[in-house]
Symmetry: C2
Subunit: 440 residues, 2 copies
Amino acid sequence: MSVAIRHLDTRASDFEAEFNRVLHWSAETDAAIESRVAEILADVRQRGDAAVLEYTARFDGVTAAAMADLELGPEALQAALGQITPAQRAALEAAAARVRQYHERQLDACGRSWQYRDADGTLLGQKVTPLDRVGIYVPGGKAAYPSSVLMNAIPAQVAGVPEIVMVVPTPKGERNPLVLAAAAVAGAHRVFTIGGAQAVGALAYGTGTVPRVDKITGPGNAYVASAKRRVFGQVGIDMIAGPSEILVLADGSTPADWVAMDLFSQAEHDELAQSILLCPDAGYIAQVQAAIDRLLPGMPRRDVIRASLVGRGALIHTRSMAEACAISNRIAPEHLEISSSDPHRWEPLLKHAGAIFLGAFTSESLGDYCAGPNHVLPTSGTARFSSPLGVYDFQKRSSLIEVSEAGAHTLGPIAAELAYGEGLQAHAQAAELRLKPRIQ
Amino acid sequence: MSVAIRHLDTRASDFEAEFNRVLHWSAETDAAIESRVAEILADVRQRGDAAVLEYTARFDGVTAAAMADLELGPEALQAALGQITPAQRAALEAAAARVRQYHERQLDACGRSWQYRDADGTLLGQKVTPLDRVGIYVPGGKAAYPSSVLMNAIPAQVAGVPEIVMVVPTPKGERNPLVLAAAAVAGAHRVFTIGGAQAVGALAYGTGTVPRVDKITGPGNAYVASAKRRVFGQVGIDMIAGPSEILVLADGSTPADWVAMDLFSQAEHDELAQSILLCPDAGYIAQVQAAIDRLLPGMPRRDVIRASLVGRGALIHTRSMAEACAISNRIAPEHLEISSSDPHRWEPLLKHAGAIFLGAFTSESLGDYCAGPNHVLPTSGTARFSSPLGVYDFQKRSSLIEVSEAGAHTLGPIAAELAYGEGLQAHAQAAELRLKPRIQ
């Protein structure tokens, strides 16, 4: 039976309406979750460790006498490395090495301090420094992804963050050895087995045992997302992620099975994930539909994949590849595959995307795990204004200004004129005092 | 009469308690403002121009038949250039030129795309592109600062943003010619005379007349701050600013009057602004107190300055300059002056600050207006994790990945191993399909 994925055609008169229906997704904020999270955060802020211990017992079913009992030392992480298979360990280490190499290039490209001097000796520049301490949230349970540990911890490490604190809930005490092994490989400095809003609160405010961090990154459920939004300002946060998305631009030159499987690989995340194909070749779209129908029954996660494809997926027939690029820019997808024999022809037309995968061999899944670039990417159209997680997220900048005596004479009258215009006389006089002969 | 600014000494037994009292500031969220803003945003989202017109009439006392009447065309901005004095115009243009030059260096330092290839031909990189359209919020009324127009619009322009939309309320119809002249000098593309939460909503969602933007920057009152926080995710935002702060590290070599005036220049912003001096020389601290007492009566804004200094200021006697640096790092100030004869000795010890001003001639006010670096800086300790507004805030990045056929054979087994470990079989199979001989 054919999988009832939506077929759209840009030539159809109802295309705009249908297209907007496909795109519509809104993160409804749940008032009950909001108020519950506000309570938990206030409680953690006030009572610290005691509050975190109580919530951990209640929500995760993990009872401990003291927060120190919920910290995993280096031995526990090393032990996890021994519990996974040698093939898993080798894969983790190979992926980590490639992710590290890419992020070191990123550091070279934009992570260095710079300065210059004017002719009058005035120095101007910007100093780039790593954050002191960051927190990485790693989900527990069914969406526990060791690859996310690498993708969050390695850019922080490359940026030079001296202390990386990871939190990961262990519902009913169940630990995921692959996740802990990834923490060892990525070089997390401290690991606490706590989660939810209480873990976000512990990282944001600090408790007797959990140190206060400067920024919290990493995905989580609705409680975690709400808590991150609330502590923003107290600490930095990375982004609030929506459902994952893939958009495939296809000119028909890639085997249809490959494209079908790439659409599946997004759809298998969860039912809200979105997979879209844009293609000017109706015959090829039919081939992809046939491949979907043929391959789906063999997939272990077929129920999730089917629900995602039927609920949020679309195969869109466009007039041309150029039109497909224009539509892609309206979507600003998280993952964008240019499945074309000439991907470099189309790449310059694509303005907004978290990551762009060029050519038939570049499946999104290679990028998800080990090509090198980060897999934490802007979702829900936020690629219009935001970027993949990177080294720059674990650095901050300070402007440097050293005005020479000659410079003070050039700049003082300009500053004073504008300051008087704004009614800020002390600003003006601070500039003017520097124009007079100096008397100690 | 002596101004009752707080004196602290790091040697005192109650120093930690007193110091924490000085630092304590919390942005209490006002539930009434929050719910009012939520209502306004929902209304603007649904009813567009009509809602914006109604709120503008109600809150600003400006009545217009259509939103188009609230747009200022290029003639209006050019006319403002003619209304200000030639000295004001020259100062605006000189400041704009220096700000532009600095931000062009910033673009060179970190705003370019980059890529590299592995030995097997796999390409990896990052593409840097400007945002399509940004909104700049400019407050009206008493805190209308033309310098802020330059500081927000110029980095956007240097980044290459093709459309800069400025909003500025004109309470009771009163327009500030310096602000409009600054918009002309900085190159804003469109200007609407609207403000408050309704202007933030119009920019975030778009209306019939106001185009939807990708990011909103610029300062505002509690309603604007609350609205920006709420639309975050729908659009990008810069930051939620708290009261402005200056911290002066002094070794006693700068004329005490200069330092006193620098403390005033922060305090004159508003009563919540914070001015702190850290100095190891008790005699010099007494000189600064004497200068404050002598100079304050002559300042037009003396009431605001006094309230700020008495309420939130502090003169702190430290054991040494090194200790002063350590305390500065705990504060992470917005503006940090190293008022020392050897500022480069101390600069490397200073980890967290929005902007660092080196040496006696570098008054903060020179940086506020025309040295070149941005004056939009992280406040309330957020310099621990965030940066001055810059070109990078008006750009976003997309990862580029092109895996060669050989690369797919190296990376495929690694990705598949990790994907199976995470229970994501479609991810694994998408990688594995690329290992087989290609059949169309």
